[in-house]
């Protein structure tokens, strides 16, 4: 049995007496790659802000790496939990790209040599090495997003959370993010992604959590969740195109939980041969 990284018990949270989270229970194990989905205002961002202590539970508890978040500062938790915000413009401030990546490393008090190495590694990983002396504000939107990711990956957190990493990104950028996910998976990291992008989730995630009105309404393998019309409807998500196609073909015998293009073709062939 692998180690439990995040344990949420009966979590309640409200902003100005407006309930946002209403009894969330969740366990996340080391090495899992998880997508959290749901409509706007379902409480996804509020939930992930509990994972590094930015928000403290009003009721219930959140334990991250065995530490109760109420007993630890954001800085302490951030050392192990990297949170990449949706909009890079909410965090970029340094004179150069290099200094931007150094920021977190210096906050955590790494040795000078380690800082240099880590900056180098993160910049190369995100394909930003050639911009190292440029101002972050002269970069394109996609590059700024990658810089924000690099600045978090640089200090090598165990759990990495991305808030809407694919929003406003073109196909190529999405592929890059997908590659990054694979890399993090092979390094044994735990990754959580908050997203609306059903197509992106469809091919890459083992576990999908669906939220609606402050509650978890679905938690399971992506095949279970993304082919469950009831959950998708409740969370106001459209099924991936291949699933939709399978649903339309279900009356001739194509199974409703078909997910991949190749799979769909095979099932259709089977039906035709019959």
């Amino acid at each position: 049995m692998t180690e439990i990284v995040v344990e949420v018990k009966d979590l309640y949270y409200s902003y100005n007496s407006q309930p946002v989270l209403q009894g969330v229970n969740l366990k996340i194990r080391r090495g899992e790659i998880i997508a959290i989905m749901g409509e706007n205002g379902a409480g996804k961002t509020t939930l992930i802000k509990h994972f590094n202590g930015l928000l403290k539970p009003k009721r219930g508890s959140v334990k991250v790496f065995g530490i109760d978040t109420r007993n630890a500062s954001v800085a302490e938790l951030s050392r192990k939990v990297g949170l990449v915000f949706q909009n890079p413009d909410h965090q970029l401030f340094a004179e150069t790209v290099e200094k931007e990546v150094e920021f977190a490393l210096r906050n955590f008090g790494f040795e000078e040599e380690v800082v240099k190495k880590r900056v180098e590694w993160a910049l190369n990983l995100m394909g930003l090495a050639k911009y190292r002396n440029r101002s972050p504000f002269t970069l394109s939107v996609g590059e700024r997003k990658r810089l924000a990711i690099a600045s978090v990956l640089s200090y090598d957190p165990e759990l990495i959370i991305f808030d809407e990493p694919t929003a406003g990104q073109d196909f190529l950028q999405k592929e890059r993010i997908a590659e990054l996910l694979n890399l993090l998976r092979t390094r044994g990291k735990t990754v959580i992604i908050v997203t609306h992008d059903v197509e992106f989730v469809a091919t890459r995630f083992e576990r999908v959590i669906v939220m609606s009105q402050g509650k978890i309404i679905g938690d399971g393998s992506f095949r279970e969740i993304l082919s469950n019309s009831e959950i998708l409807e409740k969370a106001r998500l459209l099924p991936p195109q291949i699933v939709k196609c399978a649903w339309l073909l279900s009356d001739i015998g194509v199974p409703r939980d078909t997910l991949y293009p190749e799979e769909l073709v095979r099932k259709i062939e089977e039906v035709i041969r019959r």
Binding site: K49, N52, L54, S73, V74, A75, S78, R79, G82, L83, F85, N87, D89, H90, Q91, L92, F93, F103, A104, N107, F108, F137, S151, V152, Y155
Partner: protein, 258 residues
């Protein structure tokens, strides 16, 4: 921090003060503004500060008002200490006066904005002949205060997530800790304002010199009575001050401290 904003944010209520013409309330604002800046004696400044109290009570906004006054305590302490240290004579008297000048000003503003919608205020300014560009600038800045507060919160959260500890270090370090907060905020808001300007132009803002208005302001008998009382009261104070007729008790000074 949010309490400060709350004390200046319009809340719809059905009271006499809310129903007054914005121009009448604007005259009150200007008059108390002028008198607060004119006086340096503590007692008249306390009186000017207290004039906002009946208005606050009639407008049923005592809760919001007192909250915002309480949240100003940091500024008040700052003003008090700064004046106490920088003056050479009459220090206590002066510091006390400056605190009440500050409170009188903010209190009048608080009453005005708690009871007047930004839209009403804008049309009042336009009626007084201010160009639309300037009135819009003002209402927009009011409108974007909560947005700014939200952006600030996100930026603080983002930098905290990168290990920034605002409260850590010496005084100089603490001030420098705010650099990673302020730079993204300023740049983000400049970008946003450029976008808003483009959106406004795309909707033909400024195409006509004179535009029509959806609501029309009308002064009633209540407004004239209110203006009369305000002008009489503050006019009297200003008159007494300018021509040197202030009664003795108004000029009492606080004792010198050693």
């Amino acid at each position: 921090m949010n309490y400060i904003f709350e004390g200046f944010k319009f809340k719809k209520k059905n009271t006499l003060i809310h129903d007054l013409d914005p121009r009448a309330k604007f005259i009150y604002l200007i008059m108390s503004f002028i008198s607060a800046l004119l006086f340096t004696e503590p007692i008249p400044l306390v009186i000017i500060f207290l004039t906002s109290l009946p208005l606050v009570i009639i407008a049923k906004t005592l809760k919001e008002w007192s909250r915002s006054m309480k949240s100003l305590s940091l500024f008040v302490t700052f003003i008090f200490i700064l004046n106490l240290l920088s003056m050479t004579e009459n220090r206590l008297n002066y510091a006390f006066s400056m605190v009440f000048r500050f409170l009188a000003l903010t209190s009048a503003f608080s009453v005005f904005f708690l009871t007047t919608t930004p839209d009403d205020f804008m049309s009042a300014l336009e009626e007084m002949g201010l160009p639309k560009e300037y009135t819009l600038m003002f209402t927009m800045s009011m409108r974007f205060v909560p947005t700014l507060a939200r952006d600030l919160q996100i930026i603080v959260d983002a930098q905290k997530s990168r290990g920034l500890e605002l409260e850590k270090g010496s005084l100089i370090k603490k001030v420098r800790n705010y650099v990673p907060i302020l730079i993204p905020l300023i740049i983000y808001e400049i970008r946003r304002s450029i976008m808003i300007a483009e959106a406004l132009e795309a909707r033909a803002f400024g195409a006509l010199r004179k535009t029509t208005s959806y609501t029309e302001l009308k002064m009633g008998i209540r407004d004239y009575i209110f203006i009369f009382i305000v002008v009489f009261f503050f006019g009297m104070l200003i008159f007494l001050k300018i021509f040197g007729y202030l009664p003795e008790w108004m000029m009492i000074k606080l004792p010198e401290i050693i």
